[in-house]
């Protein structure tokens, strides 16, 4: 069965047709056409697919597109409203939080969720708040520094 649902991604409503088992990640990448969210594992282990659904960080690879019908979805493409980077994006670059960049979209989403819920996290809270996002390149050091820097304002 195909279902017509509306995915509101980064403020734009996209009517899409999906089957019941379709994942949010595949639907956003293949039908909405936003490929910023990555697939690194497809089973909630790496965090590269992280999106915000009504503000919650979600492993979109393991989330049904149908369940996101009507929700507000934010992907990495929706973080910066204009051409300027958000403070978090700039800090990731300045602090060496980006190398290959494959984990970056998911990291930025998790970090955004973390700071929204807890604007002044301790270093350990930052680590726990990003623990579902694996990075193989940076050793996490630059990422944690970037988030701390933005948190301190």
């Amino acid at each position: 069965m195909k279902y017509e649902i509306i995915l509101t991604v980064n403020g734009v409503a996209y009517p899409v047709e999906v089957d019941a088992h379709a994942s949010l990640l595949h639907t956003v990448r293949d039908q909405v056409g936003l490929t910023g969210s990555k697939e690194g594992c497809d089973d909630s282990e790496c965090g590269a697919c992280m999106m915000l659904i009504d503000g919650r960080p979600v492993n979109s690879c393991s989330y049904l597109a149908c369940q996101a019908d009507g929700a507000e979805i934010i992907t990495v493409e929706g973080l910066a409203p204009g051409d300027d980077l958000t403070p978090l994006q700039s800090a990731f670059l300045a602090e060496g939080g980006v190398q290959c960049g494959f984990c970056t979209p998911g990291m930025l989403i998790s970090a955004t969720a973390l700071l929204a819920a807890n604007p002044e996290p301790t270093p350990d809270e930052i680590r726990v708040g990003l623990s579902g996002n694996l990075c193989r390149c940076t050793g996490y050091d630059g990422i944690v520094r970037a988030v701390s820097k933005v948190a301190r304002g």
């Binding site: 019941a20 393991s62 989330y63 726990v128």
Partner: protein, 299 residues
């Protein structure tokens, strides 16, 4: 072939009707959908989303006890002051479920209804004497958790029963609780060995004790021998050791990629001991950090 179907339930009745027609409920999906992605079990052909049912995501107090809606997430549990204060073992468990994202989406209902012997909230809730309210086509009923789990991944509830709420009775004064699991990494783990304890102290002696083990048998279960070993005197080393040994003796561990039988058995003693010690400390008013798995590391 009709292909897979999906509906969204907007009430408990809706969900039960869909389940009676063969649909499987999906709440956060962090277990059902993830399991399918990992190739453990294919996704059911018929699904009903229950995440939008209103009124199921509240944490309420009743007579000093707690009522948790089925959709309460692990992150809501960890950050709730009453859960942290008086049902601390449950906060210990929810705090270490998966990652920050798993906790933001995974629900207490989904955790209990996956009937996994490794689920983290099971052991503390069992020790706290929690019951669950199930809604089915024939009405509602309340059963204890020990009655709910029939085997690994198996429930005594029928496929058309929706878990509506979890009810935790008020703890007696002087009670402390804890849940501890073995963790190779600090986050993103699955319990390899875990244990929970709820201890009530009175006049320096253990008046009541509940001890349960996780991932060490086909279902999470309490260990009466361990409880008996702890009760009746001060929680001194001899009593704690005897209780921990009894808890481990009840283990029927398996060996797999995560650990051997011998190691699991040895760790059962350690986790039981740590859970008991932490529960005792909390019962006597000490402030032990949450999650206990982190704060008891190395002790």
């Amino acid at each position: 072939m009709m292909g897979a179907t999906y509906t969204t339930a907007s009430s408990v009745e809706d969900a039960v009707a869909a389940m009676a027609a063969g649909a499987r409920p999906v709440a956060g999906g962090t277990d059902l959908v993830v399991g399918a992605r990992q190739g453990k079990k294919p996704l059911p052909q018929a699904l009903v989303g229950i995440h939008k049912i209103p009124g199921l995501d509240g944490i309420g107090e009743s007579d000093g006890g707690l009522v948790l809606g089925a959709l309460v997430t692990h992150s809501a549990l960890v950050s709730h002051p009453i859960v942290r204060g008086r049902f601390t073992g449950l906060a210990d468990a929810s705090a270490i479920v998966g990652s920050h994202a798993t906790r933001a989406n995974g629900t207490i209902g989904g955790n209990l209804m996956n009937a996994s012997p490794a689920m983290d909230t099971g052991a503390p809730l069992l020790c706290m004497g929690a019951t669950v309210e199930l809604a089915g086509p024939g009405g509602r009923r309340t059963i204890g958790l020990d009655e709910l789990w029939a085997g690994p991944g198996q429930l005594s509830a029928s496929a058309d029963e929706l878990l509506v709420s979890v009810n935790i009775p008020a703890p007696s004064p002087g009670t402390g609780s804890a849940y501890v699991r073995l963790q190779y990494r600090r986050q993103m783990e699955i319990a390899v060995v875990g244990a929970a304890a709820v201890v009530t102290l009175g006049g320096g002696a253990v008046m009541d004790a509940r001890i349960a083990i996780t991932a060490l048998a086909p279902t999470i279960h309490r260990v009466p021998d361990a409880e008996a070993a702890l009760v009746g005197g001060p929680p001194d080393e001899a009593r704690v050791d005897a209780a921990a040994a009894a808890a481990a003796a009840a283990a029927r561990p398996i060996g797999d990629v995560r650990a051997s039988v011998e190691y699991r058995r040895a760790m059962a003693v350690v986790m039981a001991r740590r859970a008991i010690m932490t529960a005792v400390a909390r019962a006597s008013g000490q402030d032990m950090a949450i999650p206990a798995s982190d704060s008891t590391y190395g002790s």
